[in-house]
Symmetry: none
Subunit: 117 residues, 4 copies
DNA sequence: GTGGTCTAGACCACG
DNA sequence: GTGGTCTAGACCACC
């Protein structure tokens, strides 16, 4: 279902989980009121420890994106989905950047900089 | 001269310094053969300890971007600057994204996702 | 377990640590998937500060020889071991050189020179 | 006449000069009683500052390899030359090592280790 | 005056 | 309990 956690990337596992879930929402694969798979299954899917999963969910609750319903499960309370228009804008920009031999790191730095303008 | 380090962002100071310097190069504010300010001044500028500065510079040396001349200073040896064309592409995309109320974090996640496609 | 760091040799301690660990791998005393002793123990073993140990490990990570698993430990990811054939070649050459009263420094200089030919 | 100093290697210039001169002696290109070129010419040859040259010569004097004759120049007082036999041994070993894809750094580490046996 | 290395020790992050 | 980051400050090496 979800992408997996890359243990060799240096990025903390729980951060990766947060990002994976946010991405799912962003791309509309998870929407408001949807229920997440049970923690024990997330544990298996991501190949990490329960504590690590819990820490990620805790953060998302803190951000108001998730809600825990005791004895039931985790539900998405607020989903900001990228419109297909936005995805297209990004796809277009990325295509041009790649054709100019820009790599992802440079693109990210550049975007941060331009964002501030 | 440079942007400053944000000590509360959670991102290690030395990583921020690496990114600041890379950005300066990317945007053409630092070019090949340019000399960096002395380490002790960077210390002051960034508001961190010498060790932290040195750690950043060490990494950049390893990547072949900087060169240390002992007793002389640090020099930029390889500067890949973003062409104005690339900057324009990014500026354009960012403008559209902002008008759609996308924030930087979402934009970054989306870019990573699209980049993989 | 490992050889010790010579603080009076002029060679930086962290470089010595890098070389000691590389040597252990080269000679097959450390192999792929092996876990290193915890940083705090390496500190004790080598008689240096944590920072110095970490600096060595950081370099080895960058070279792709080690991998850090946060909260778990350091693991060897890529181990190139010297074949017994290679060791024999070296042993043979060294034996002859010593019988000619060549010292290690001379042998090293000579090897560098011959290597370039 | 001599090899040149590589300012980008990270190895201090004066150490490189020491090694170059030792190598010249080792390979028999400089012998006992030979006079070195004047310091001002060494300066030019190596592309470094006088101080740097002087520091190298100082070290070699300390090791008893050179002698300064005031107002005349520097002379070699003790030259240990590698016999052609030794060079052949090394050449042979290096050839075999290279054919096994060993690089210079690994070879050096290995030699140091075997030397101790 | 420039870079380079190290220590001691605190405090944080991850699993 | 494991790794990771940072500071303060000393002392050294190089040009």
């Amino acid at each position: 279902m979800f992408s997996t956690v890359d243990k060799h990337s240096g990025v903390p596992a729980y951060i990766q989980i947060i990002n994976i879930l946010k991405r799912e929402i962003l791309l509309g694969r998870l929407g408001e009121e949807d229920q997440l798979p049970p923690v024990r299954e997330l544990e298996r899917i991501f190949g990490v420890n329960v504590n690590t999963v819990m820490r990620a969910l805790e953060h998302l609750q803190f951000e108001g994106i998730l809600e825990a319903r005791h004895g039931v499960g985790y539900f998405i309370t607020s989903a900001t989905r990228a419109s297909s228009e936005i995805v297209d804008i990004m796809r277009n920009a990325v295509k041009k950047l790649r054709s100019q031999n820009v790599d992802l790191q440079m693109a990210t730095l550049l975007m941060e900089e331009v964002w501030k303008e």
